[in-house]
């Protein structure tokens, strides 16, 4: 276990380094100067421009900025927003919990629905039920996640009062509300965004689970289990399903980048002020410092997620445990 954690930590460092290097290499190659890039060209005097650049350290040569950024990163400093000079770390740390909430909700939907459908399909391959569900998963898988969100808003949120069309919480709730009210309020705001992000992922999970289960059902140990007179249910659940979950756990790790990408889009649809929303907002304001920070943090989240997947796999598959 320690080895796994150490390896992922190392990977995290490499990932961050690569992203930062990519950023500054691109900056070096990109046309336009930092001032034009970050502010709309208005009638600004040369001195004001020079001062603006100097304040942000943007008048130094790019390699210098690169070094400075890396050093800052080692201290956990992600720089400051070009727009309001707030530390990027603070801006993002405010937004990350919302994204995490959304991601967790989506993952719950993804894996319960996805595994459920995959198992239903895998136990009766070639049946009409299987074919019908394949069409469903293919369609879901091919849908743009933001469009699904809009469709759900149109056909679910608009007709049903109780389900909000956006936002992470009711703006009119005051501090007096009980904990239960707050929780319920958060949940009903989380419902559609979580469902949107989760269903698209579920389609992919279902396809994977179906294949994994079919594969497991053809293994020798399943036949051996039947030969022992175990009930069919035990054979499928305890033997085939158990081992078929292993690749699905691995899938969890691989699906994280997609999940976070989807989160950016879903946050736009529902006005959910998470990391993605902040990043897109920053692009409109040409604040690439914030976008860089968001990209770095997103990558780190993926690495952490992969670590979780590794640990889960070690728990589930004794063959992958480190020799004691």
């Amino acid at each position: 276990m320690a080895r796994t954690i150490a390896l992922r930590l190392l990977q995290g460092v490499v990932v961050v380094y690569v992203v930062v290097t990519l950023t500054y290499v691109t900056l070096q190659l990109a046309p336009g100067d930092p001032f034009r890039r970050t502010m709309d060209q208005q009638r600004v005097s040369l001195e004001d421009r020079a001062r603006w650049l100097a304040e942000r350290g943007l008048d130094d040569p790019i390699p210098v900025q690169y070094g400075r950024y890396l050093l800052g990163l080692a201290r956990g400093d992600l720089g400051r927003s070009f727009v309001d000079s707030r530390p990027v770390r603070d801006i993002l740390l405010e937004a990350i919990p919302n994204t995490l909430l959304l991601a967790v909700a989506a993952l719950i939907v993804d894996f319960t629905v996805g595994i459920g459908i995959g198992v239903v399909q895998g136990t009766r391959p070639g049946s009409r039920r299987d074919d019908a569900l394949s069409i469903v998963t293919l369609t879901l898988y091919s849908m743009p996640v933001f469009w699904l969100g809009i469709i759900l808003v149109m056909f679910v949120a608009l007709p049903i009062d109780w389900i909000p069309t956006g936002g992470a919480r009711d703006p009119i709730l005051f501090g007096r509300q009980s904990l239960l009210d707050v929780v319920i309020d958060r949940l009903r705001h989380l419902l559609l965004p979580g469902l949107t992000l989760g269903l698209v992922g579920a389609a992919s999970t279902a396809r994977y689970q179906r294949a994994a289960l079919l594969d497991a059902l053809h293994q020798d140990y399943v036949r051996a289990a039947r030969a022992r007179g175990l009930r069919e249910r035990a054979v499928v659940l305890r033997h085939a399903l158990r081992t078929s979950l292993l690749p699905v756990i691995a899938l969890f790790g691989m699906s994280l980048p997609l999940l976070l990408s989807g989160a950016v889009l879903v946050e736009q649809v529902f006005g959910w002020h998470g990391m993605g929303w902040v990043a897109v907002d920053a692009i409109a304001k040409r604040d690439y410092q914030v976008v860089t920070g968001a990209a770095i943090l997103a990558a780190v989240m993926v690495v952490v997620g992969n670590l979780v997947a590794d640990l889960l796999t070690q728990i589930a598959d004794p063959r992958t445990r480190e020799a004691s």
Partner: protein, 279 residues
């Protein structure tokens, strides 16, 4: 015809996918001939803004009185072109890097794959957003380049794996013993044998790219109005849902689903045909 292709075509779903893709390609190609209205020009709003679907306007009109059907058809042209070209770039870059890593081995391979793994860890949208934020001025050509150059990582891993397995086979040793130069070796002996999984990757990649481009255009970062892209039309339509103009956002999404389904069917069919375990 390659036995793989034949086996793929034997599946109904590959044929359906191919049929759909051909129709879509034709629509994209012959867009001007299919659309009676100009997709971009703003018309007099009193003439017919926000009309629901009708015989004259099968997909309705938007707030600028533009015919949605025409916009969506032209959107096909835009989105498909971007997707196909950027996938070609991604495949080329991925094959190049993967082959170099696989053939060179050693330190080169290790470093390249570490970098690729790192880049794979960054969610694609964040990567593209980052590059777009840094590059500042993004027209369609730049967009295609950015999309292509941020999408080659997975392909390079696949190619590297294939190259590694092909490298050890006897005919490579035989060819090298005959004194074949390295470039010749690659193009005539290695490449044809790794081509099949690359084609699968490319086909499925077009589907993914359509979704990525749509997402970016929806965010306002990809294709910008007035040029129609399915993604930015959906964005435009989002404002009009509450007032009740449901058709603006709905139809482009259906178009995307159909397109992605088509390429997924073809890609899946090809991939199953390649699978040695004939099921």
């Amino acid at each position: 015809m390659s036995p793989v292709v034949r086996r793929a075509l034997r599946q109904a779903r590959t044929r359906s996918g191919l049929a759909l893709a051909v129709v879509l390609g034709a629509v994209a190609l012959f867009a001007p001939a299919l659309t009676p209205y100009d997709p971009v020009e703003h018309l007099d709003p009193r003439d017919g803004a926000l009309l629901g679907p009708s015989v004259a306007h099968p997909f309705g009109t938007d707030d600028f009185s533009r015919d949605m059907f025409s916009r969506i058809v032209f959107g096909a042209r835009v989105s498909l072109t971007i997707a196909v070209v950027s996938v070609l770039i991604a495949i080329s870059a991925g094959t190049a890097v993967g082959s170099i890593a696989g053939l060179a081995g050693g330190a080169v391979d290790a470093v390249l794959m570490r970098v690729v793994d790192a880049l794979l860890a960054v969610p694609r949208i964040f990567l593209v957003l980052l590059v777009v934020a840094l590059w500042d001025r993004v027209e369609v050509v730049t967009l295609i380049l950015i999309l292509g150059l941020t999408s080659w990582f997975a392909t390079s891993r696949v190619v590297r794996a294939e190259v590694l397995s092909v490298r050890e086979r006897e005919y490579i040793g035989a060819a090298r013993a005959l004194g074949l130069g390295r470039m010749r070796l690659f193009f005539r002996h290695v490449l044809p044998n790794i081509a099949a999984p690359i084609v699968v990757s490319a086909t499925l990649g077009v589907g993914h790219m359509i979704l990525v481009e749509a997402g970016l255009s929806y965010l306002g970062v990809g294709v910008r109005p007035p040029t129609p892209s399915w993604g930015n039309i959906i964005r435009q339509g989002q404002e009009w849902i509450l007032p009740g103009a449901w058709w603006i956002s709905l139809f482009p999404g259906i178009a995307i689903v159909i397109t992605v389904v088509a390429f997924s069917l073809i890609g899946d069919g090809l991939r199953d045909a390649l699978d040695p375990r004939a099921r």
